[in-house]
Symmetry: C2
Subunit: 213 residues, 2 copies
């Protein structure tokens, strides 16, 4: 490797593909694959090979000519680039089915994301335990977020409560919000929001199924 | 409107933005907004205004000079383009927390997606009822998919069971799969797969939070 990656310049679309590479490389690593070339990686990830090479070039000289990429080395480099090689502490707001799925998400935890507190505004849920966590009233976000070193808020409320949850998380000091609720939310500029909106994918499906030649 | 939209030519990135416009326009419609110009629409959707105009131009002449777009007309046109203006019948495989969240997803149902059957391979779950649906053994997919006119399969299994679920769905005749499991799956070319992988979004968050200037 020649240089540390200049992460600031990596475009968003590349970040998205890096996540895909990461997932594929991790399962290869588990299966004992040590070296991979760009062709099979590109095939599994459904990205063309020259794009794969271009994306990985952000990290300097990885490939070994005639051999390919060292899987474990590439894995670590991608994780470092995404800042996925450390623990991230998160608060979850909205303890319904989706919230519970997140609390019990093995893969999420395994990747260093720890939900350290769960919140709801339903008095029937507050005080209950969900996957080992006590469910707190959303009013205590102001206290818990700094106390527990929480940086990320996860919103799994119904859509009509998403904005309130987001505002409370922002006020409490989170740096970013992962919003699973099917509703747009507005937050101050210094806070990042990402939407997990599977309607994008389902409409791609319906569109593709319907317009297939 | 001059011409019907040439859906086949609309790029994937546009389809994704159409989904965002749809969501924003629907909540505006609910609030009684009748006309909107590209600037506020672009602001709320976090897309630049010229891109919005370009995207909407696929549908022909929508905008009314000096007025904007008619919300209800635009809504219907986008829905027609995405083939979201009809019922889609889906089978869900994997009745865990996430599967239950999908079975109980009001917004999903409201948008015309109906999960008509739920499947699991866990003998303790088979025969149970989840949100009004009997949980069937995955072996009965072959029979149920054609019988119930199912076109879409939703995979909400743990990652290690995703490929088997996908293969069973394909064999049973679905046209597309929405995969929520954090695992790549392979299917024949005539079947479409979309991944709902929130690690894309969470790594965008960690990347943005960490590289903010």
């Amino acid at each position: 490797m020649n240089q540390p990656p200049k992460s600031e310049r990596i475009p968003r679309a590349t970040i998205q593909r890096l996540t895909t590479y990461l997932q594929v490389l991790e399962s290869m690593h588990k299966e004992g694959v040590q070296v991979i070339s760009s062709e099979p990686l590109s095939r599994i990830c459904d990205v063309n090979a020259s794009q794969v090479r271009k994306d990985l070039a952000y990290f300097g000289e990885f490939g070994v000519r005639g051999v390919g990429y060292y899987v474990s080395y590439l894995l670590e480099a991608i994780k470092a680039c995404l800042h996925a090689n450390r623990e991230w502490r998160a608060a979850l707001v909205g303890v319904g089915n989706l919230g519970r799925a997140m609390l019990n998400h093995q893969e999420f935890r395994r990747r260093g994301f720890t939900i350290v507190a769960a919140f709801d505004c339903d008095p029937f849920k507050i005080g209950d335990t969900a996957y080992g966590l006590e469910v707190y009233c959303t009013k205590s976000l102001m206290e818990k977020v700094p106390e527990l070193g929480i940086e990320i808020g996860i919103v799994t409320t119904p859509p009509e409560r998403a904005q309130r949850a987001a505002s409370q998380l922002v006020e409490a000091g989170v740096k970013g919000i992962l919003n699973f609720a099917p509703a747009r939310i507005s937050v101050p500029e210094h806070v990042f929001v990402e939407y997990v909106d599977f309607f994008h994918q389902i409409y791609s499906l319906t569109f593709n199924i319907s317009t297939r030649h």
